[in-house]
Symmetry: C2
Subunit: 397 residues, 2 copies
């Protein structure tokens, strides 16, 4: 009985230039990618035309953190939706100016939005089992500002269908990173590390993807506290240290690591007793000393080991890792990973023409491309949803 609301045939009939927009939970800035997608009888290809990251306005960042960490009035919440639409539009205009690609050539925009809350486990409220996620940033406002179709709010439909609303990157991995000749792992090392298992013979419905444990967030956190650096550039701090075997032993026992997928984790990964151990051993003094490097070294080893352990346990036939995310700039971490998995070839997405930092923005451009083409964006075997769904909402301008 249902009719086709979208003009999907027309959308898929020609290459489309889509601006993808990603803003992560680190709230540091706005990734923008201009990506051209083409469809040949259901097989998609893409060309990344431009990419950059633009920092959030300082005031905007503070407003977001205020909403994430404390209480807020309806006014702030309402304003933030509009502010983010303005910020996203501004970032898209900057990339247009930088790249020389005129805004007029952009067919549509896809935005992730700024996550203020994500808790896909049921909580009883008003008599319903409520499982909720919230990405701020008004799709309708951005569409009005840009005079273009905008797609956003990708996660709630999957959650409404019983899924976790996450991860959404695997549909990209399956379409663009899978090989017919090698068993591949798509690895993203962000704050949290996650993998998509892409067997050379796998079909979309048996793709598996899950979080392996911490990526950069623990390294970044303690690098900030001890060295007042936002991250360990190239892994140079870790390289000066030695492994703290006592701490490493404790970290290796965290049950999440060996738990079977599906599984996901967050920035509350570390058990309280390990946090306390670190505090007592490494944060007692107000100056750094030679042992400070040991902590960073151990956390870096832990990130590499937990990724490797998950691959050994759940993707034993893997032959290649296609790595992306900020963590691939941490040379020391990647070296550790290679030592853990000596027979696997680690390829940066950059070698495939995709800058490591651009992947998520490209992915949300692709999800918008799919939605406008009437194609599902979730993979039920990954998210746990009861069915595939065309994700998101569309403002048609």
């Amino acid at each position: 009985l249902s009719i086709s609301i979208l003009n999907t045939g027309l959308w898929l009939s020609e290459p489309r230039l889509v601006a993808g927009n990603m803003t992560g939970t680190s709230v540091d800035g706005i990734d923008v990618a201009f990506v051209e997608f083409s469809n040949q009888a259901g097989r998609h290809s893409y060309v990344l035309k431009a990419f950059d990251m633009f920092p959030y306005n300082h005031e905007t960042r503070n407003l977001i953190l205020e909403l994430i960490n404390g209480k807020a009035e309806a006014e702030l919440l309402s304003s933030l939706n509009i502010i983010l639409a303005e910020e996203y539009y501004s970032a898209i205009k900057k990339l247009s100016a930088e790249s020389g690609i005129p805004l007029e050539l952009i067919d549509a925009i896809g935005i992730h939005g700024q996550t203020l809350w994500h808790f896909p486990n049921p909580v009883k409220k008003s008599g319903y089992d409520i499982r909720s996620t919230y990405q701020a940033g008004s799709v309708s406002t951005l569409s009005g500002l840009a005079g273009k179709p905008v797609v956003g709010d990708f996660r709630p439909a999957d959650i409404a269908l019983g899924g976790q609303g996450s991860p959404l990157v695997p549909i990209f991995d399956f379409n663009f990173l899978k090989s017919d000749y090698k068993n591949r792992i798509a690895l993203n090392i962000g704050g949290i590390a996650n993998i998509t298992i892409l067997g050379k013979d796998c079909s979309e419905q048996n793709v598996i993807a899950f979080d392996t444990g911490p990526g950069n967030y623990l390294i970044d956190k303690y690098t900030k506290i001890i060295f007042d650096c936002n991250f360990d550039a190239n892994g140079e701090l870790a390289a000066w240290g030695n492994i703290d075997s006592e701490l490493f032993g404790m970290l290796k026992l965290i049950p999440f690591i060996k738990q079977s997928p599906p599984k996901s984790t967050g920035r509350d990964f570390l058990p309280g007793e390990i946090e306390l151990f670190i505090k007592n051993k490494y944060l007692k003094y107000f100056t750094t000393n030679s042992h400070s490097y040991d902590l960073i070294r151990t956390l870096t080893e832990m990130a590499a080991w937990s990724i490797a352990e998950n691959i050994r346990l759940f993707a034993p036939g893997a032959e290649e890792i296609i790595a992306s995310g900020g963590g691939i700039h941490n040379v020391f971490l990647i070296d550790c990973l290679q030592k853990e998995l000596p027979t696997l070839k680690i390829i940066n997405t950059e070698e495939l023409g995709l800058p490591a930092d651009a992947k998520e923005a490209v992915c949300f451009a692709y999800l918008a491309y799919r939605t406008l083409g009437g194609l599902h964006g979730n993979i039920p075997s990954v998210t746990g949803a009861s069915r595939k769904a065309v994700l998101g909402v569309i403002a048609s301008y």
Copy 2:
């Protein structure tokens, strides 16, 4: 360069059954209307198939009021979007059961959402002039739950284009209440009263609509305080009172009444000194007395007079009033209005087949119908937007 995202030709080619959903600022309940729209060469007609109002779950109502009146955590905000989608879906299912119209026959759903904030005047934030409105209720979630296209979030696009995001009912008034033979006024008496001026020769681009002043909200407020009733049923309390000429004189001097349109007002209509006057004269005693009725009488006369005065000033050629909204049940108020405008014929929308309380839900069904047909929903001469816009966001399911 822009391509048509929506399959508008197909949508408009056959009659469509749309469920319209309205939840007002009084936060009392969910109005649902099932409306069939047809298109004959650009002329639209509708048949109201079913209508009812379903009270909010008590817990939901409290959550909404918590968010409107105080501060809230991101978790509440995120949950509320999902709770409202559940409540809206539940109300739609109830109307389906009541009316015997199966859900399968519904082609799409249009939701207003629950307004938590509406302030279309610029406030400087993060370097932008932010003008914002926020209607809670996840369009994507409702679409996932119902397995149907859902349209919502109608106001932000108009605001992004410089408009007030309000009123949006005039496009309905123009299409369905305008007469080719009589100069009509579409009057809605809600908390605030507003009119749409529909001259018999007017075209859409010179439709004017604006708030005339208080509708029921002052009457309701003081009826509640003094008589502990939620409203003055049939105007019976007002009918027992006499006009307080001193107060009425003060009310008549409020500049908003005679101010030229465009104009809009809210529940902060009453100047502080008049609130104080009322407090000192009428709220000093803890019991009602014969003068208590005078206050209700005077506020009722004021509502009628301010509507009439605006019609005399800004629509002097009006011949008929098509009245809707809860206020038309206040017989005394309508009598006062008729006495103020003795030559005008006052017709309830009910006489035109549209229950007075159903108008807004029908209107948001119509706005969804228009959006899916690729048609604009705002009238720039009414909202002040720089151009027409296809309003809202669409979840295509």
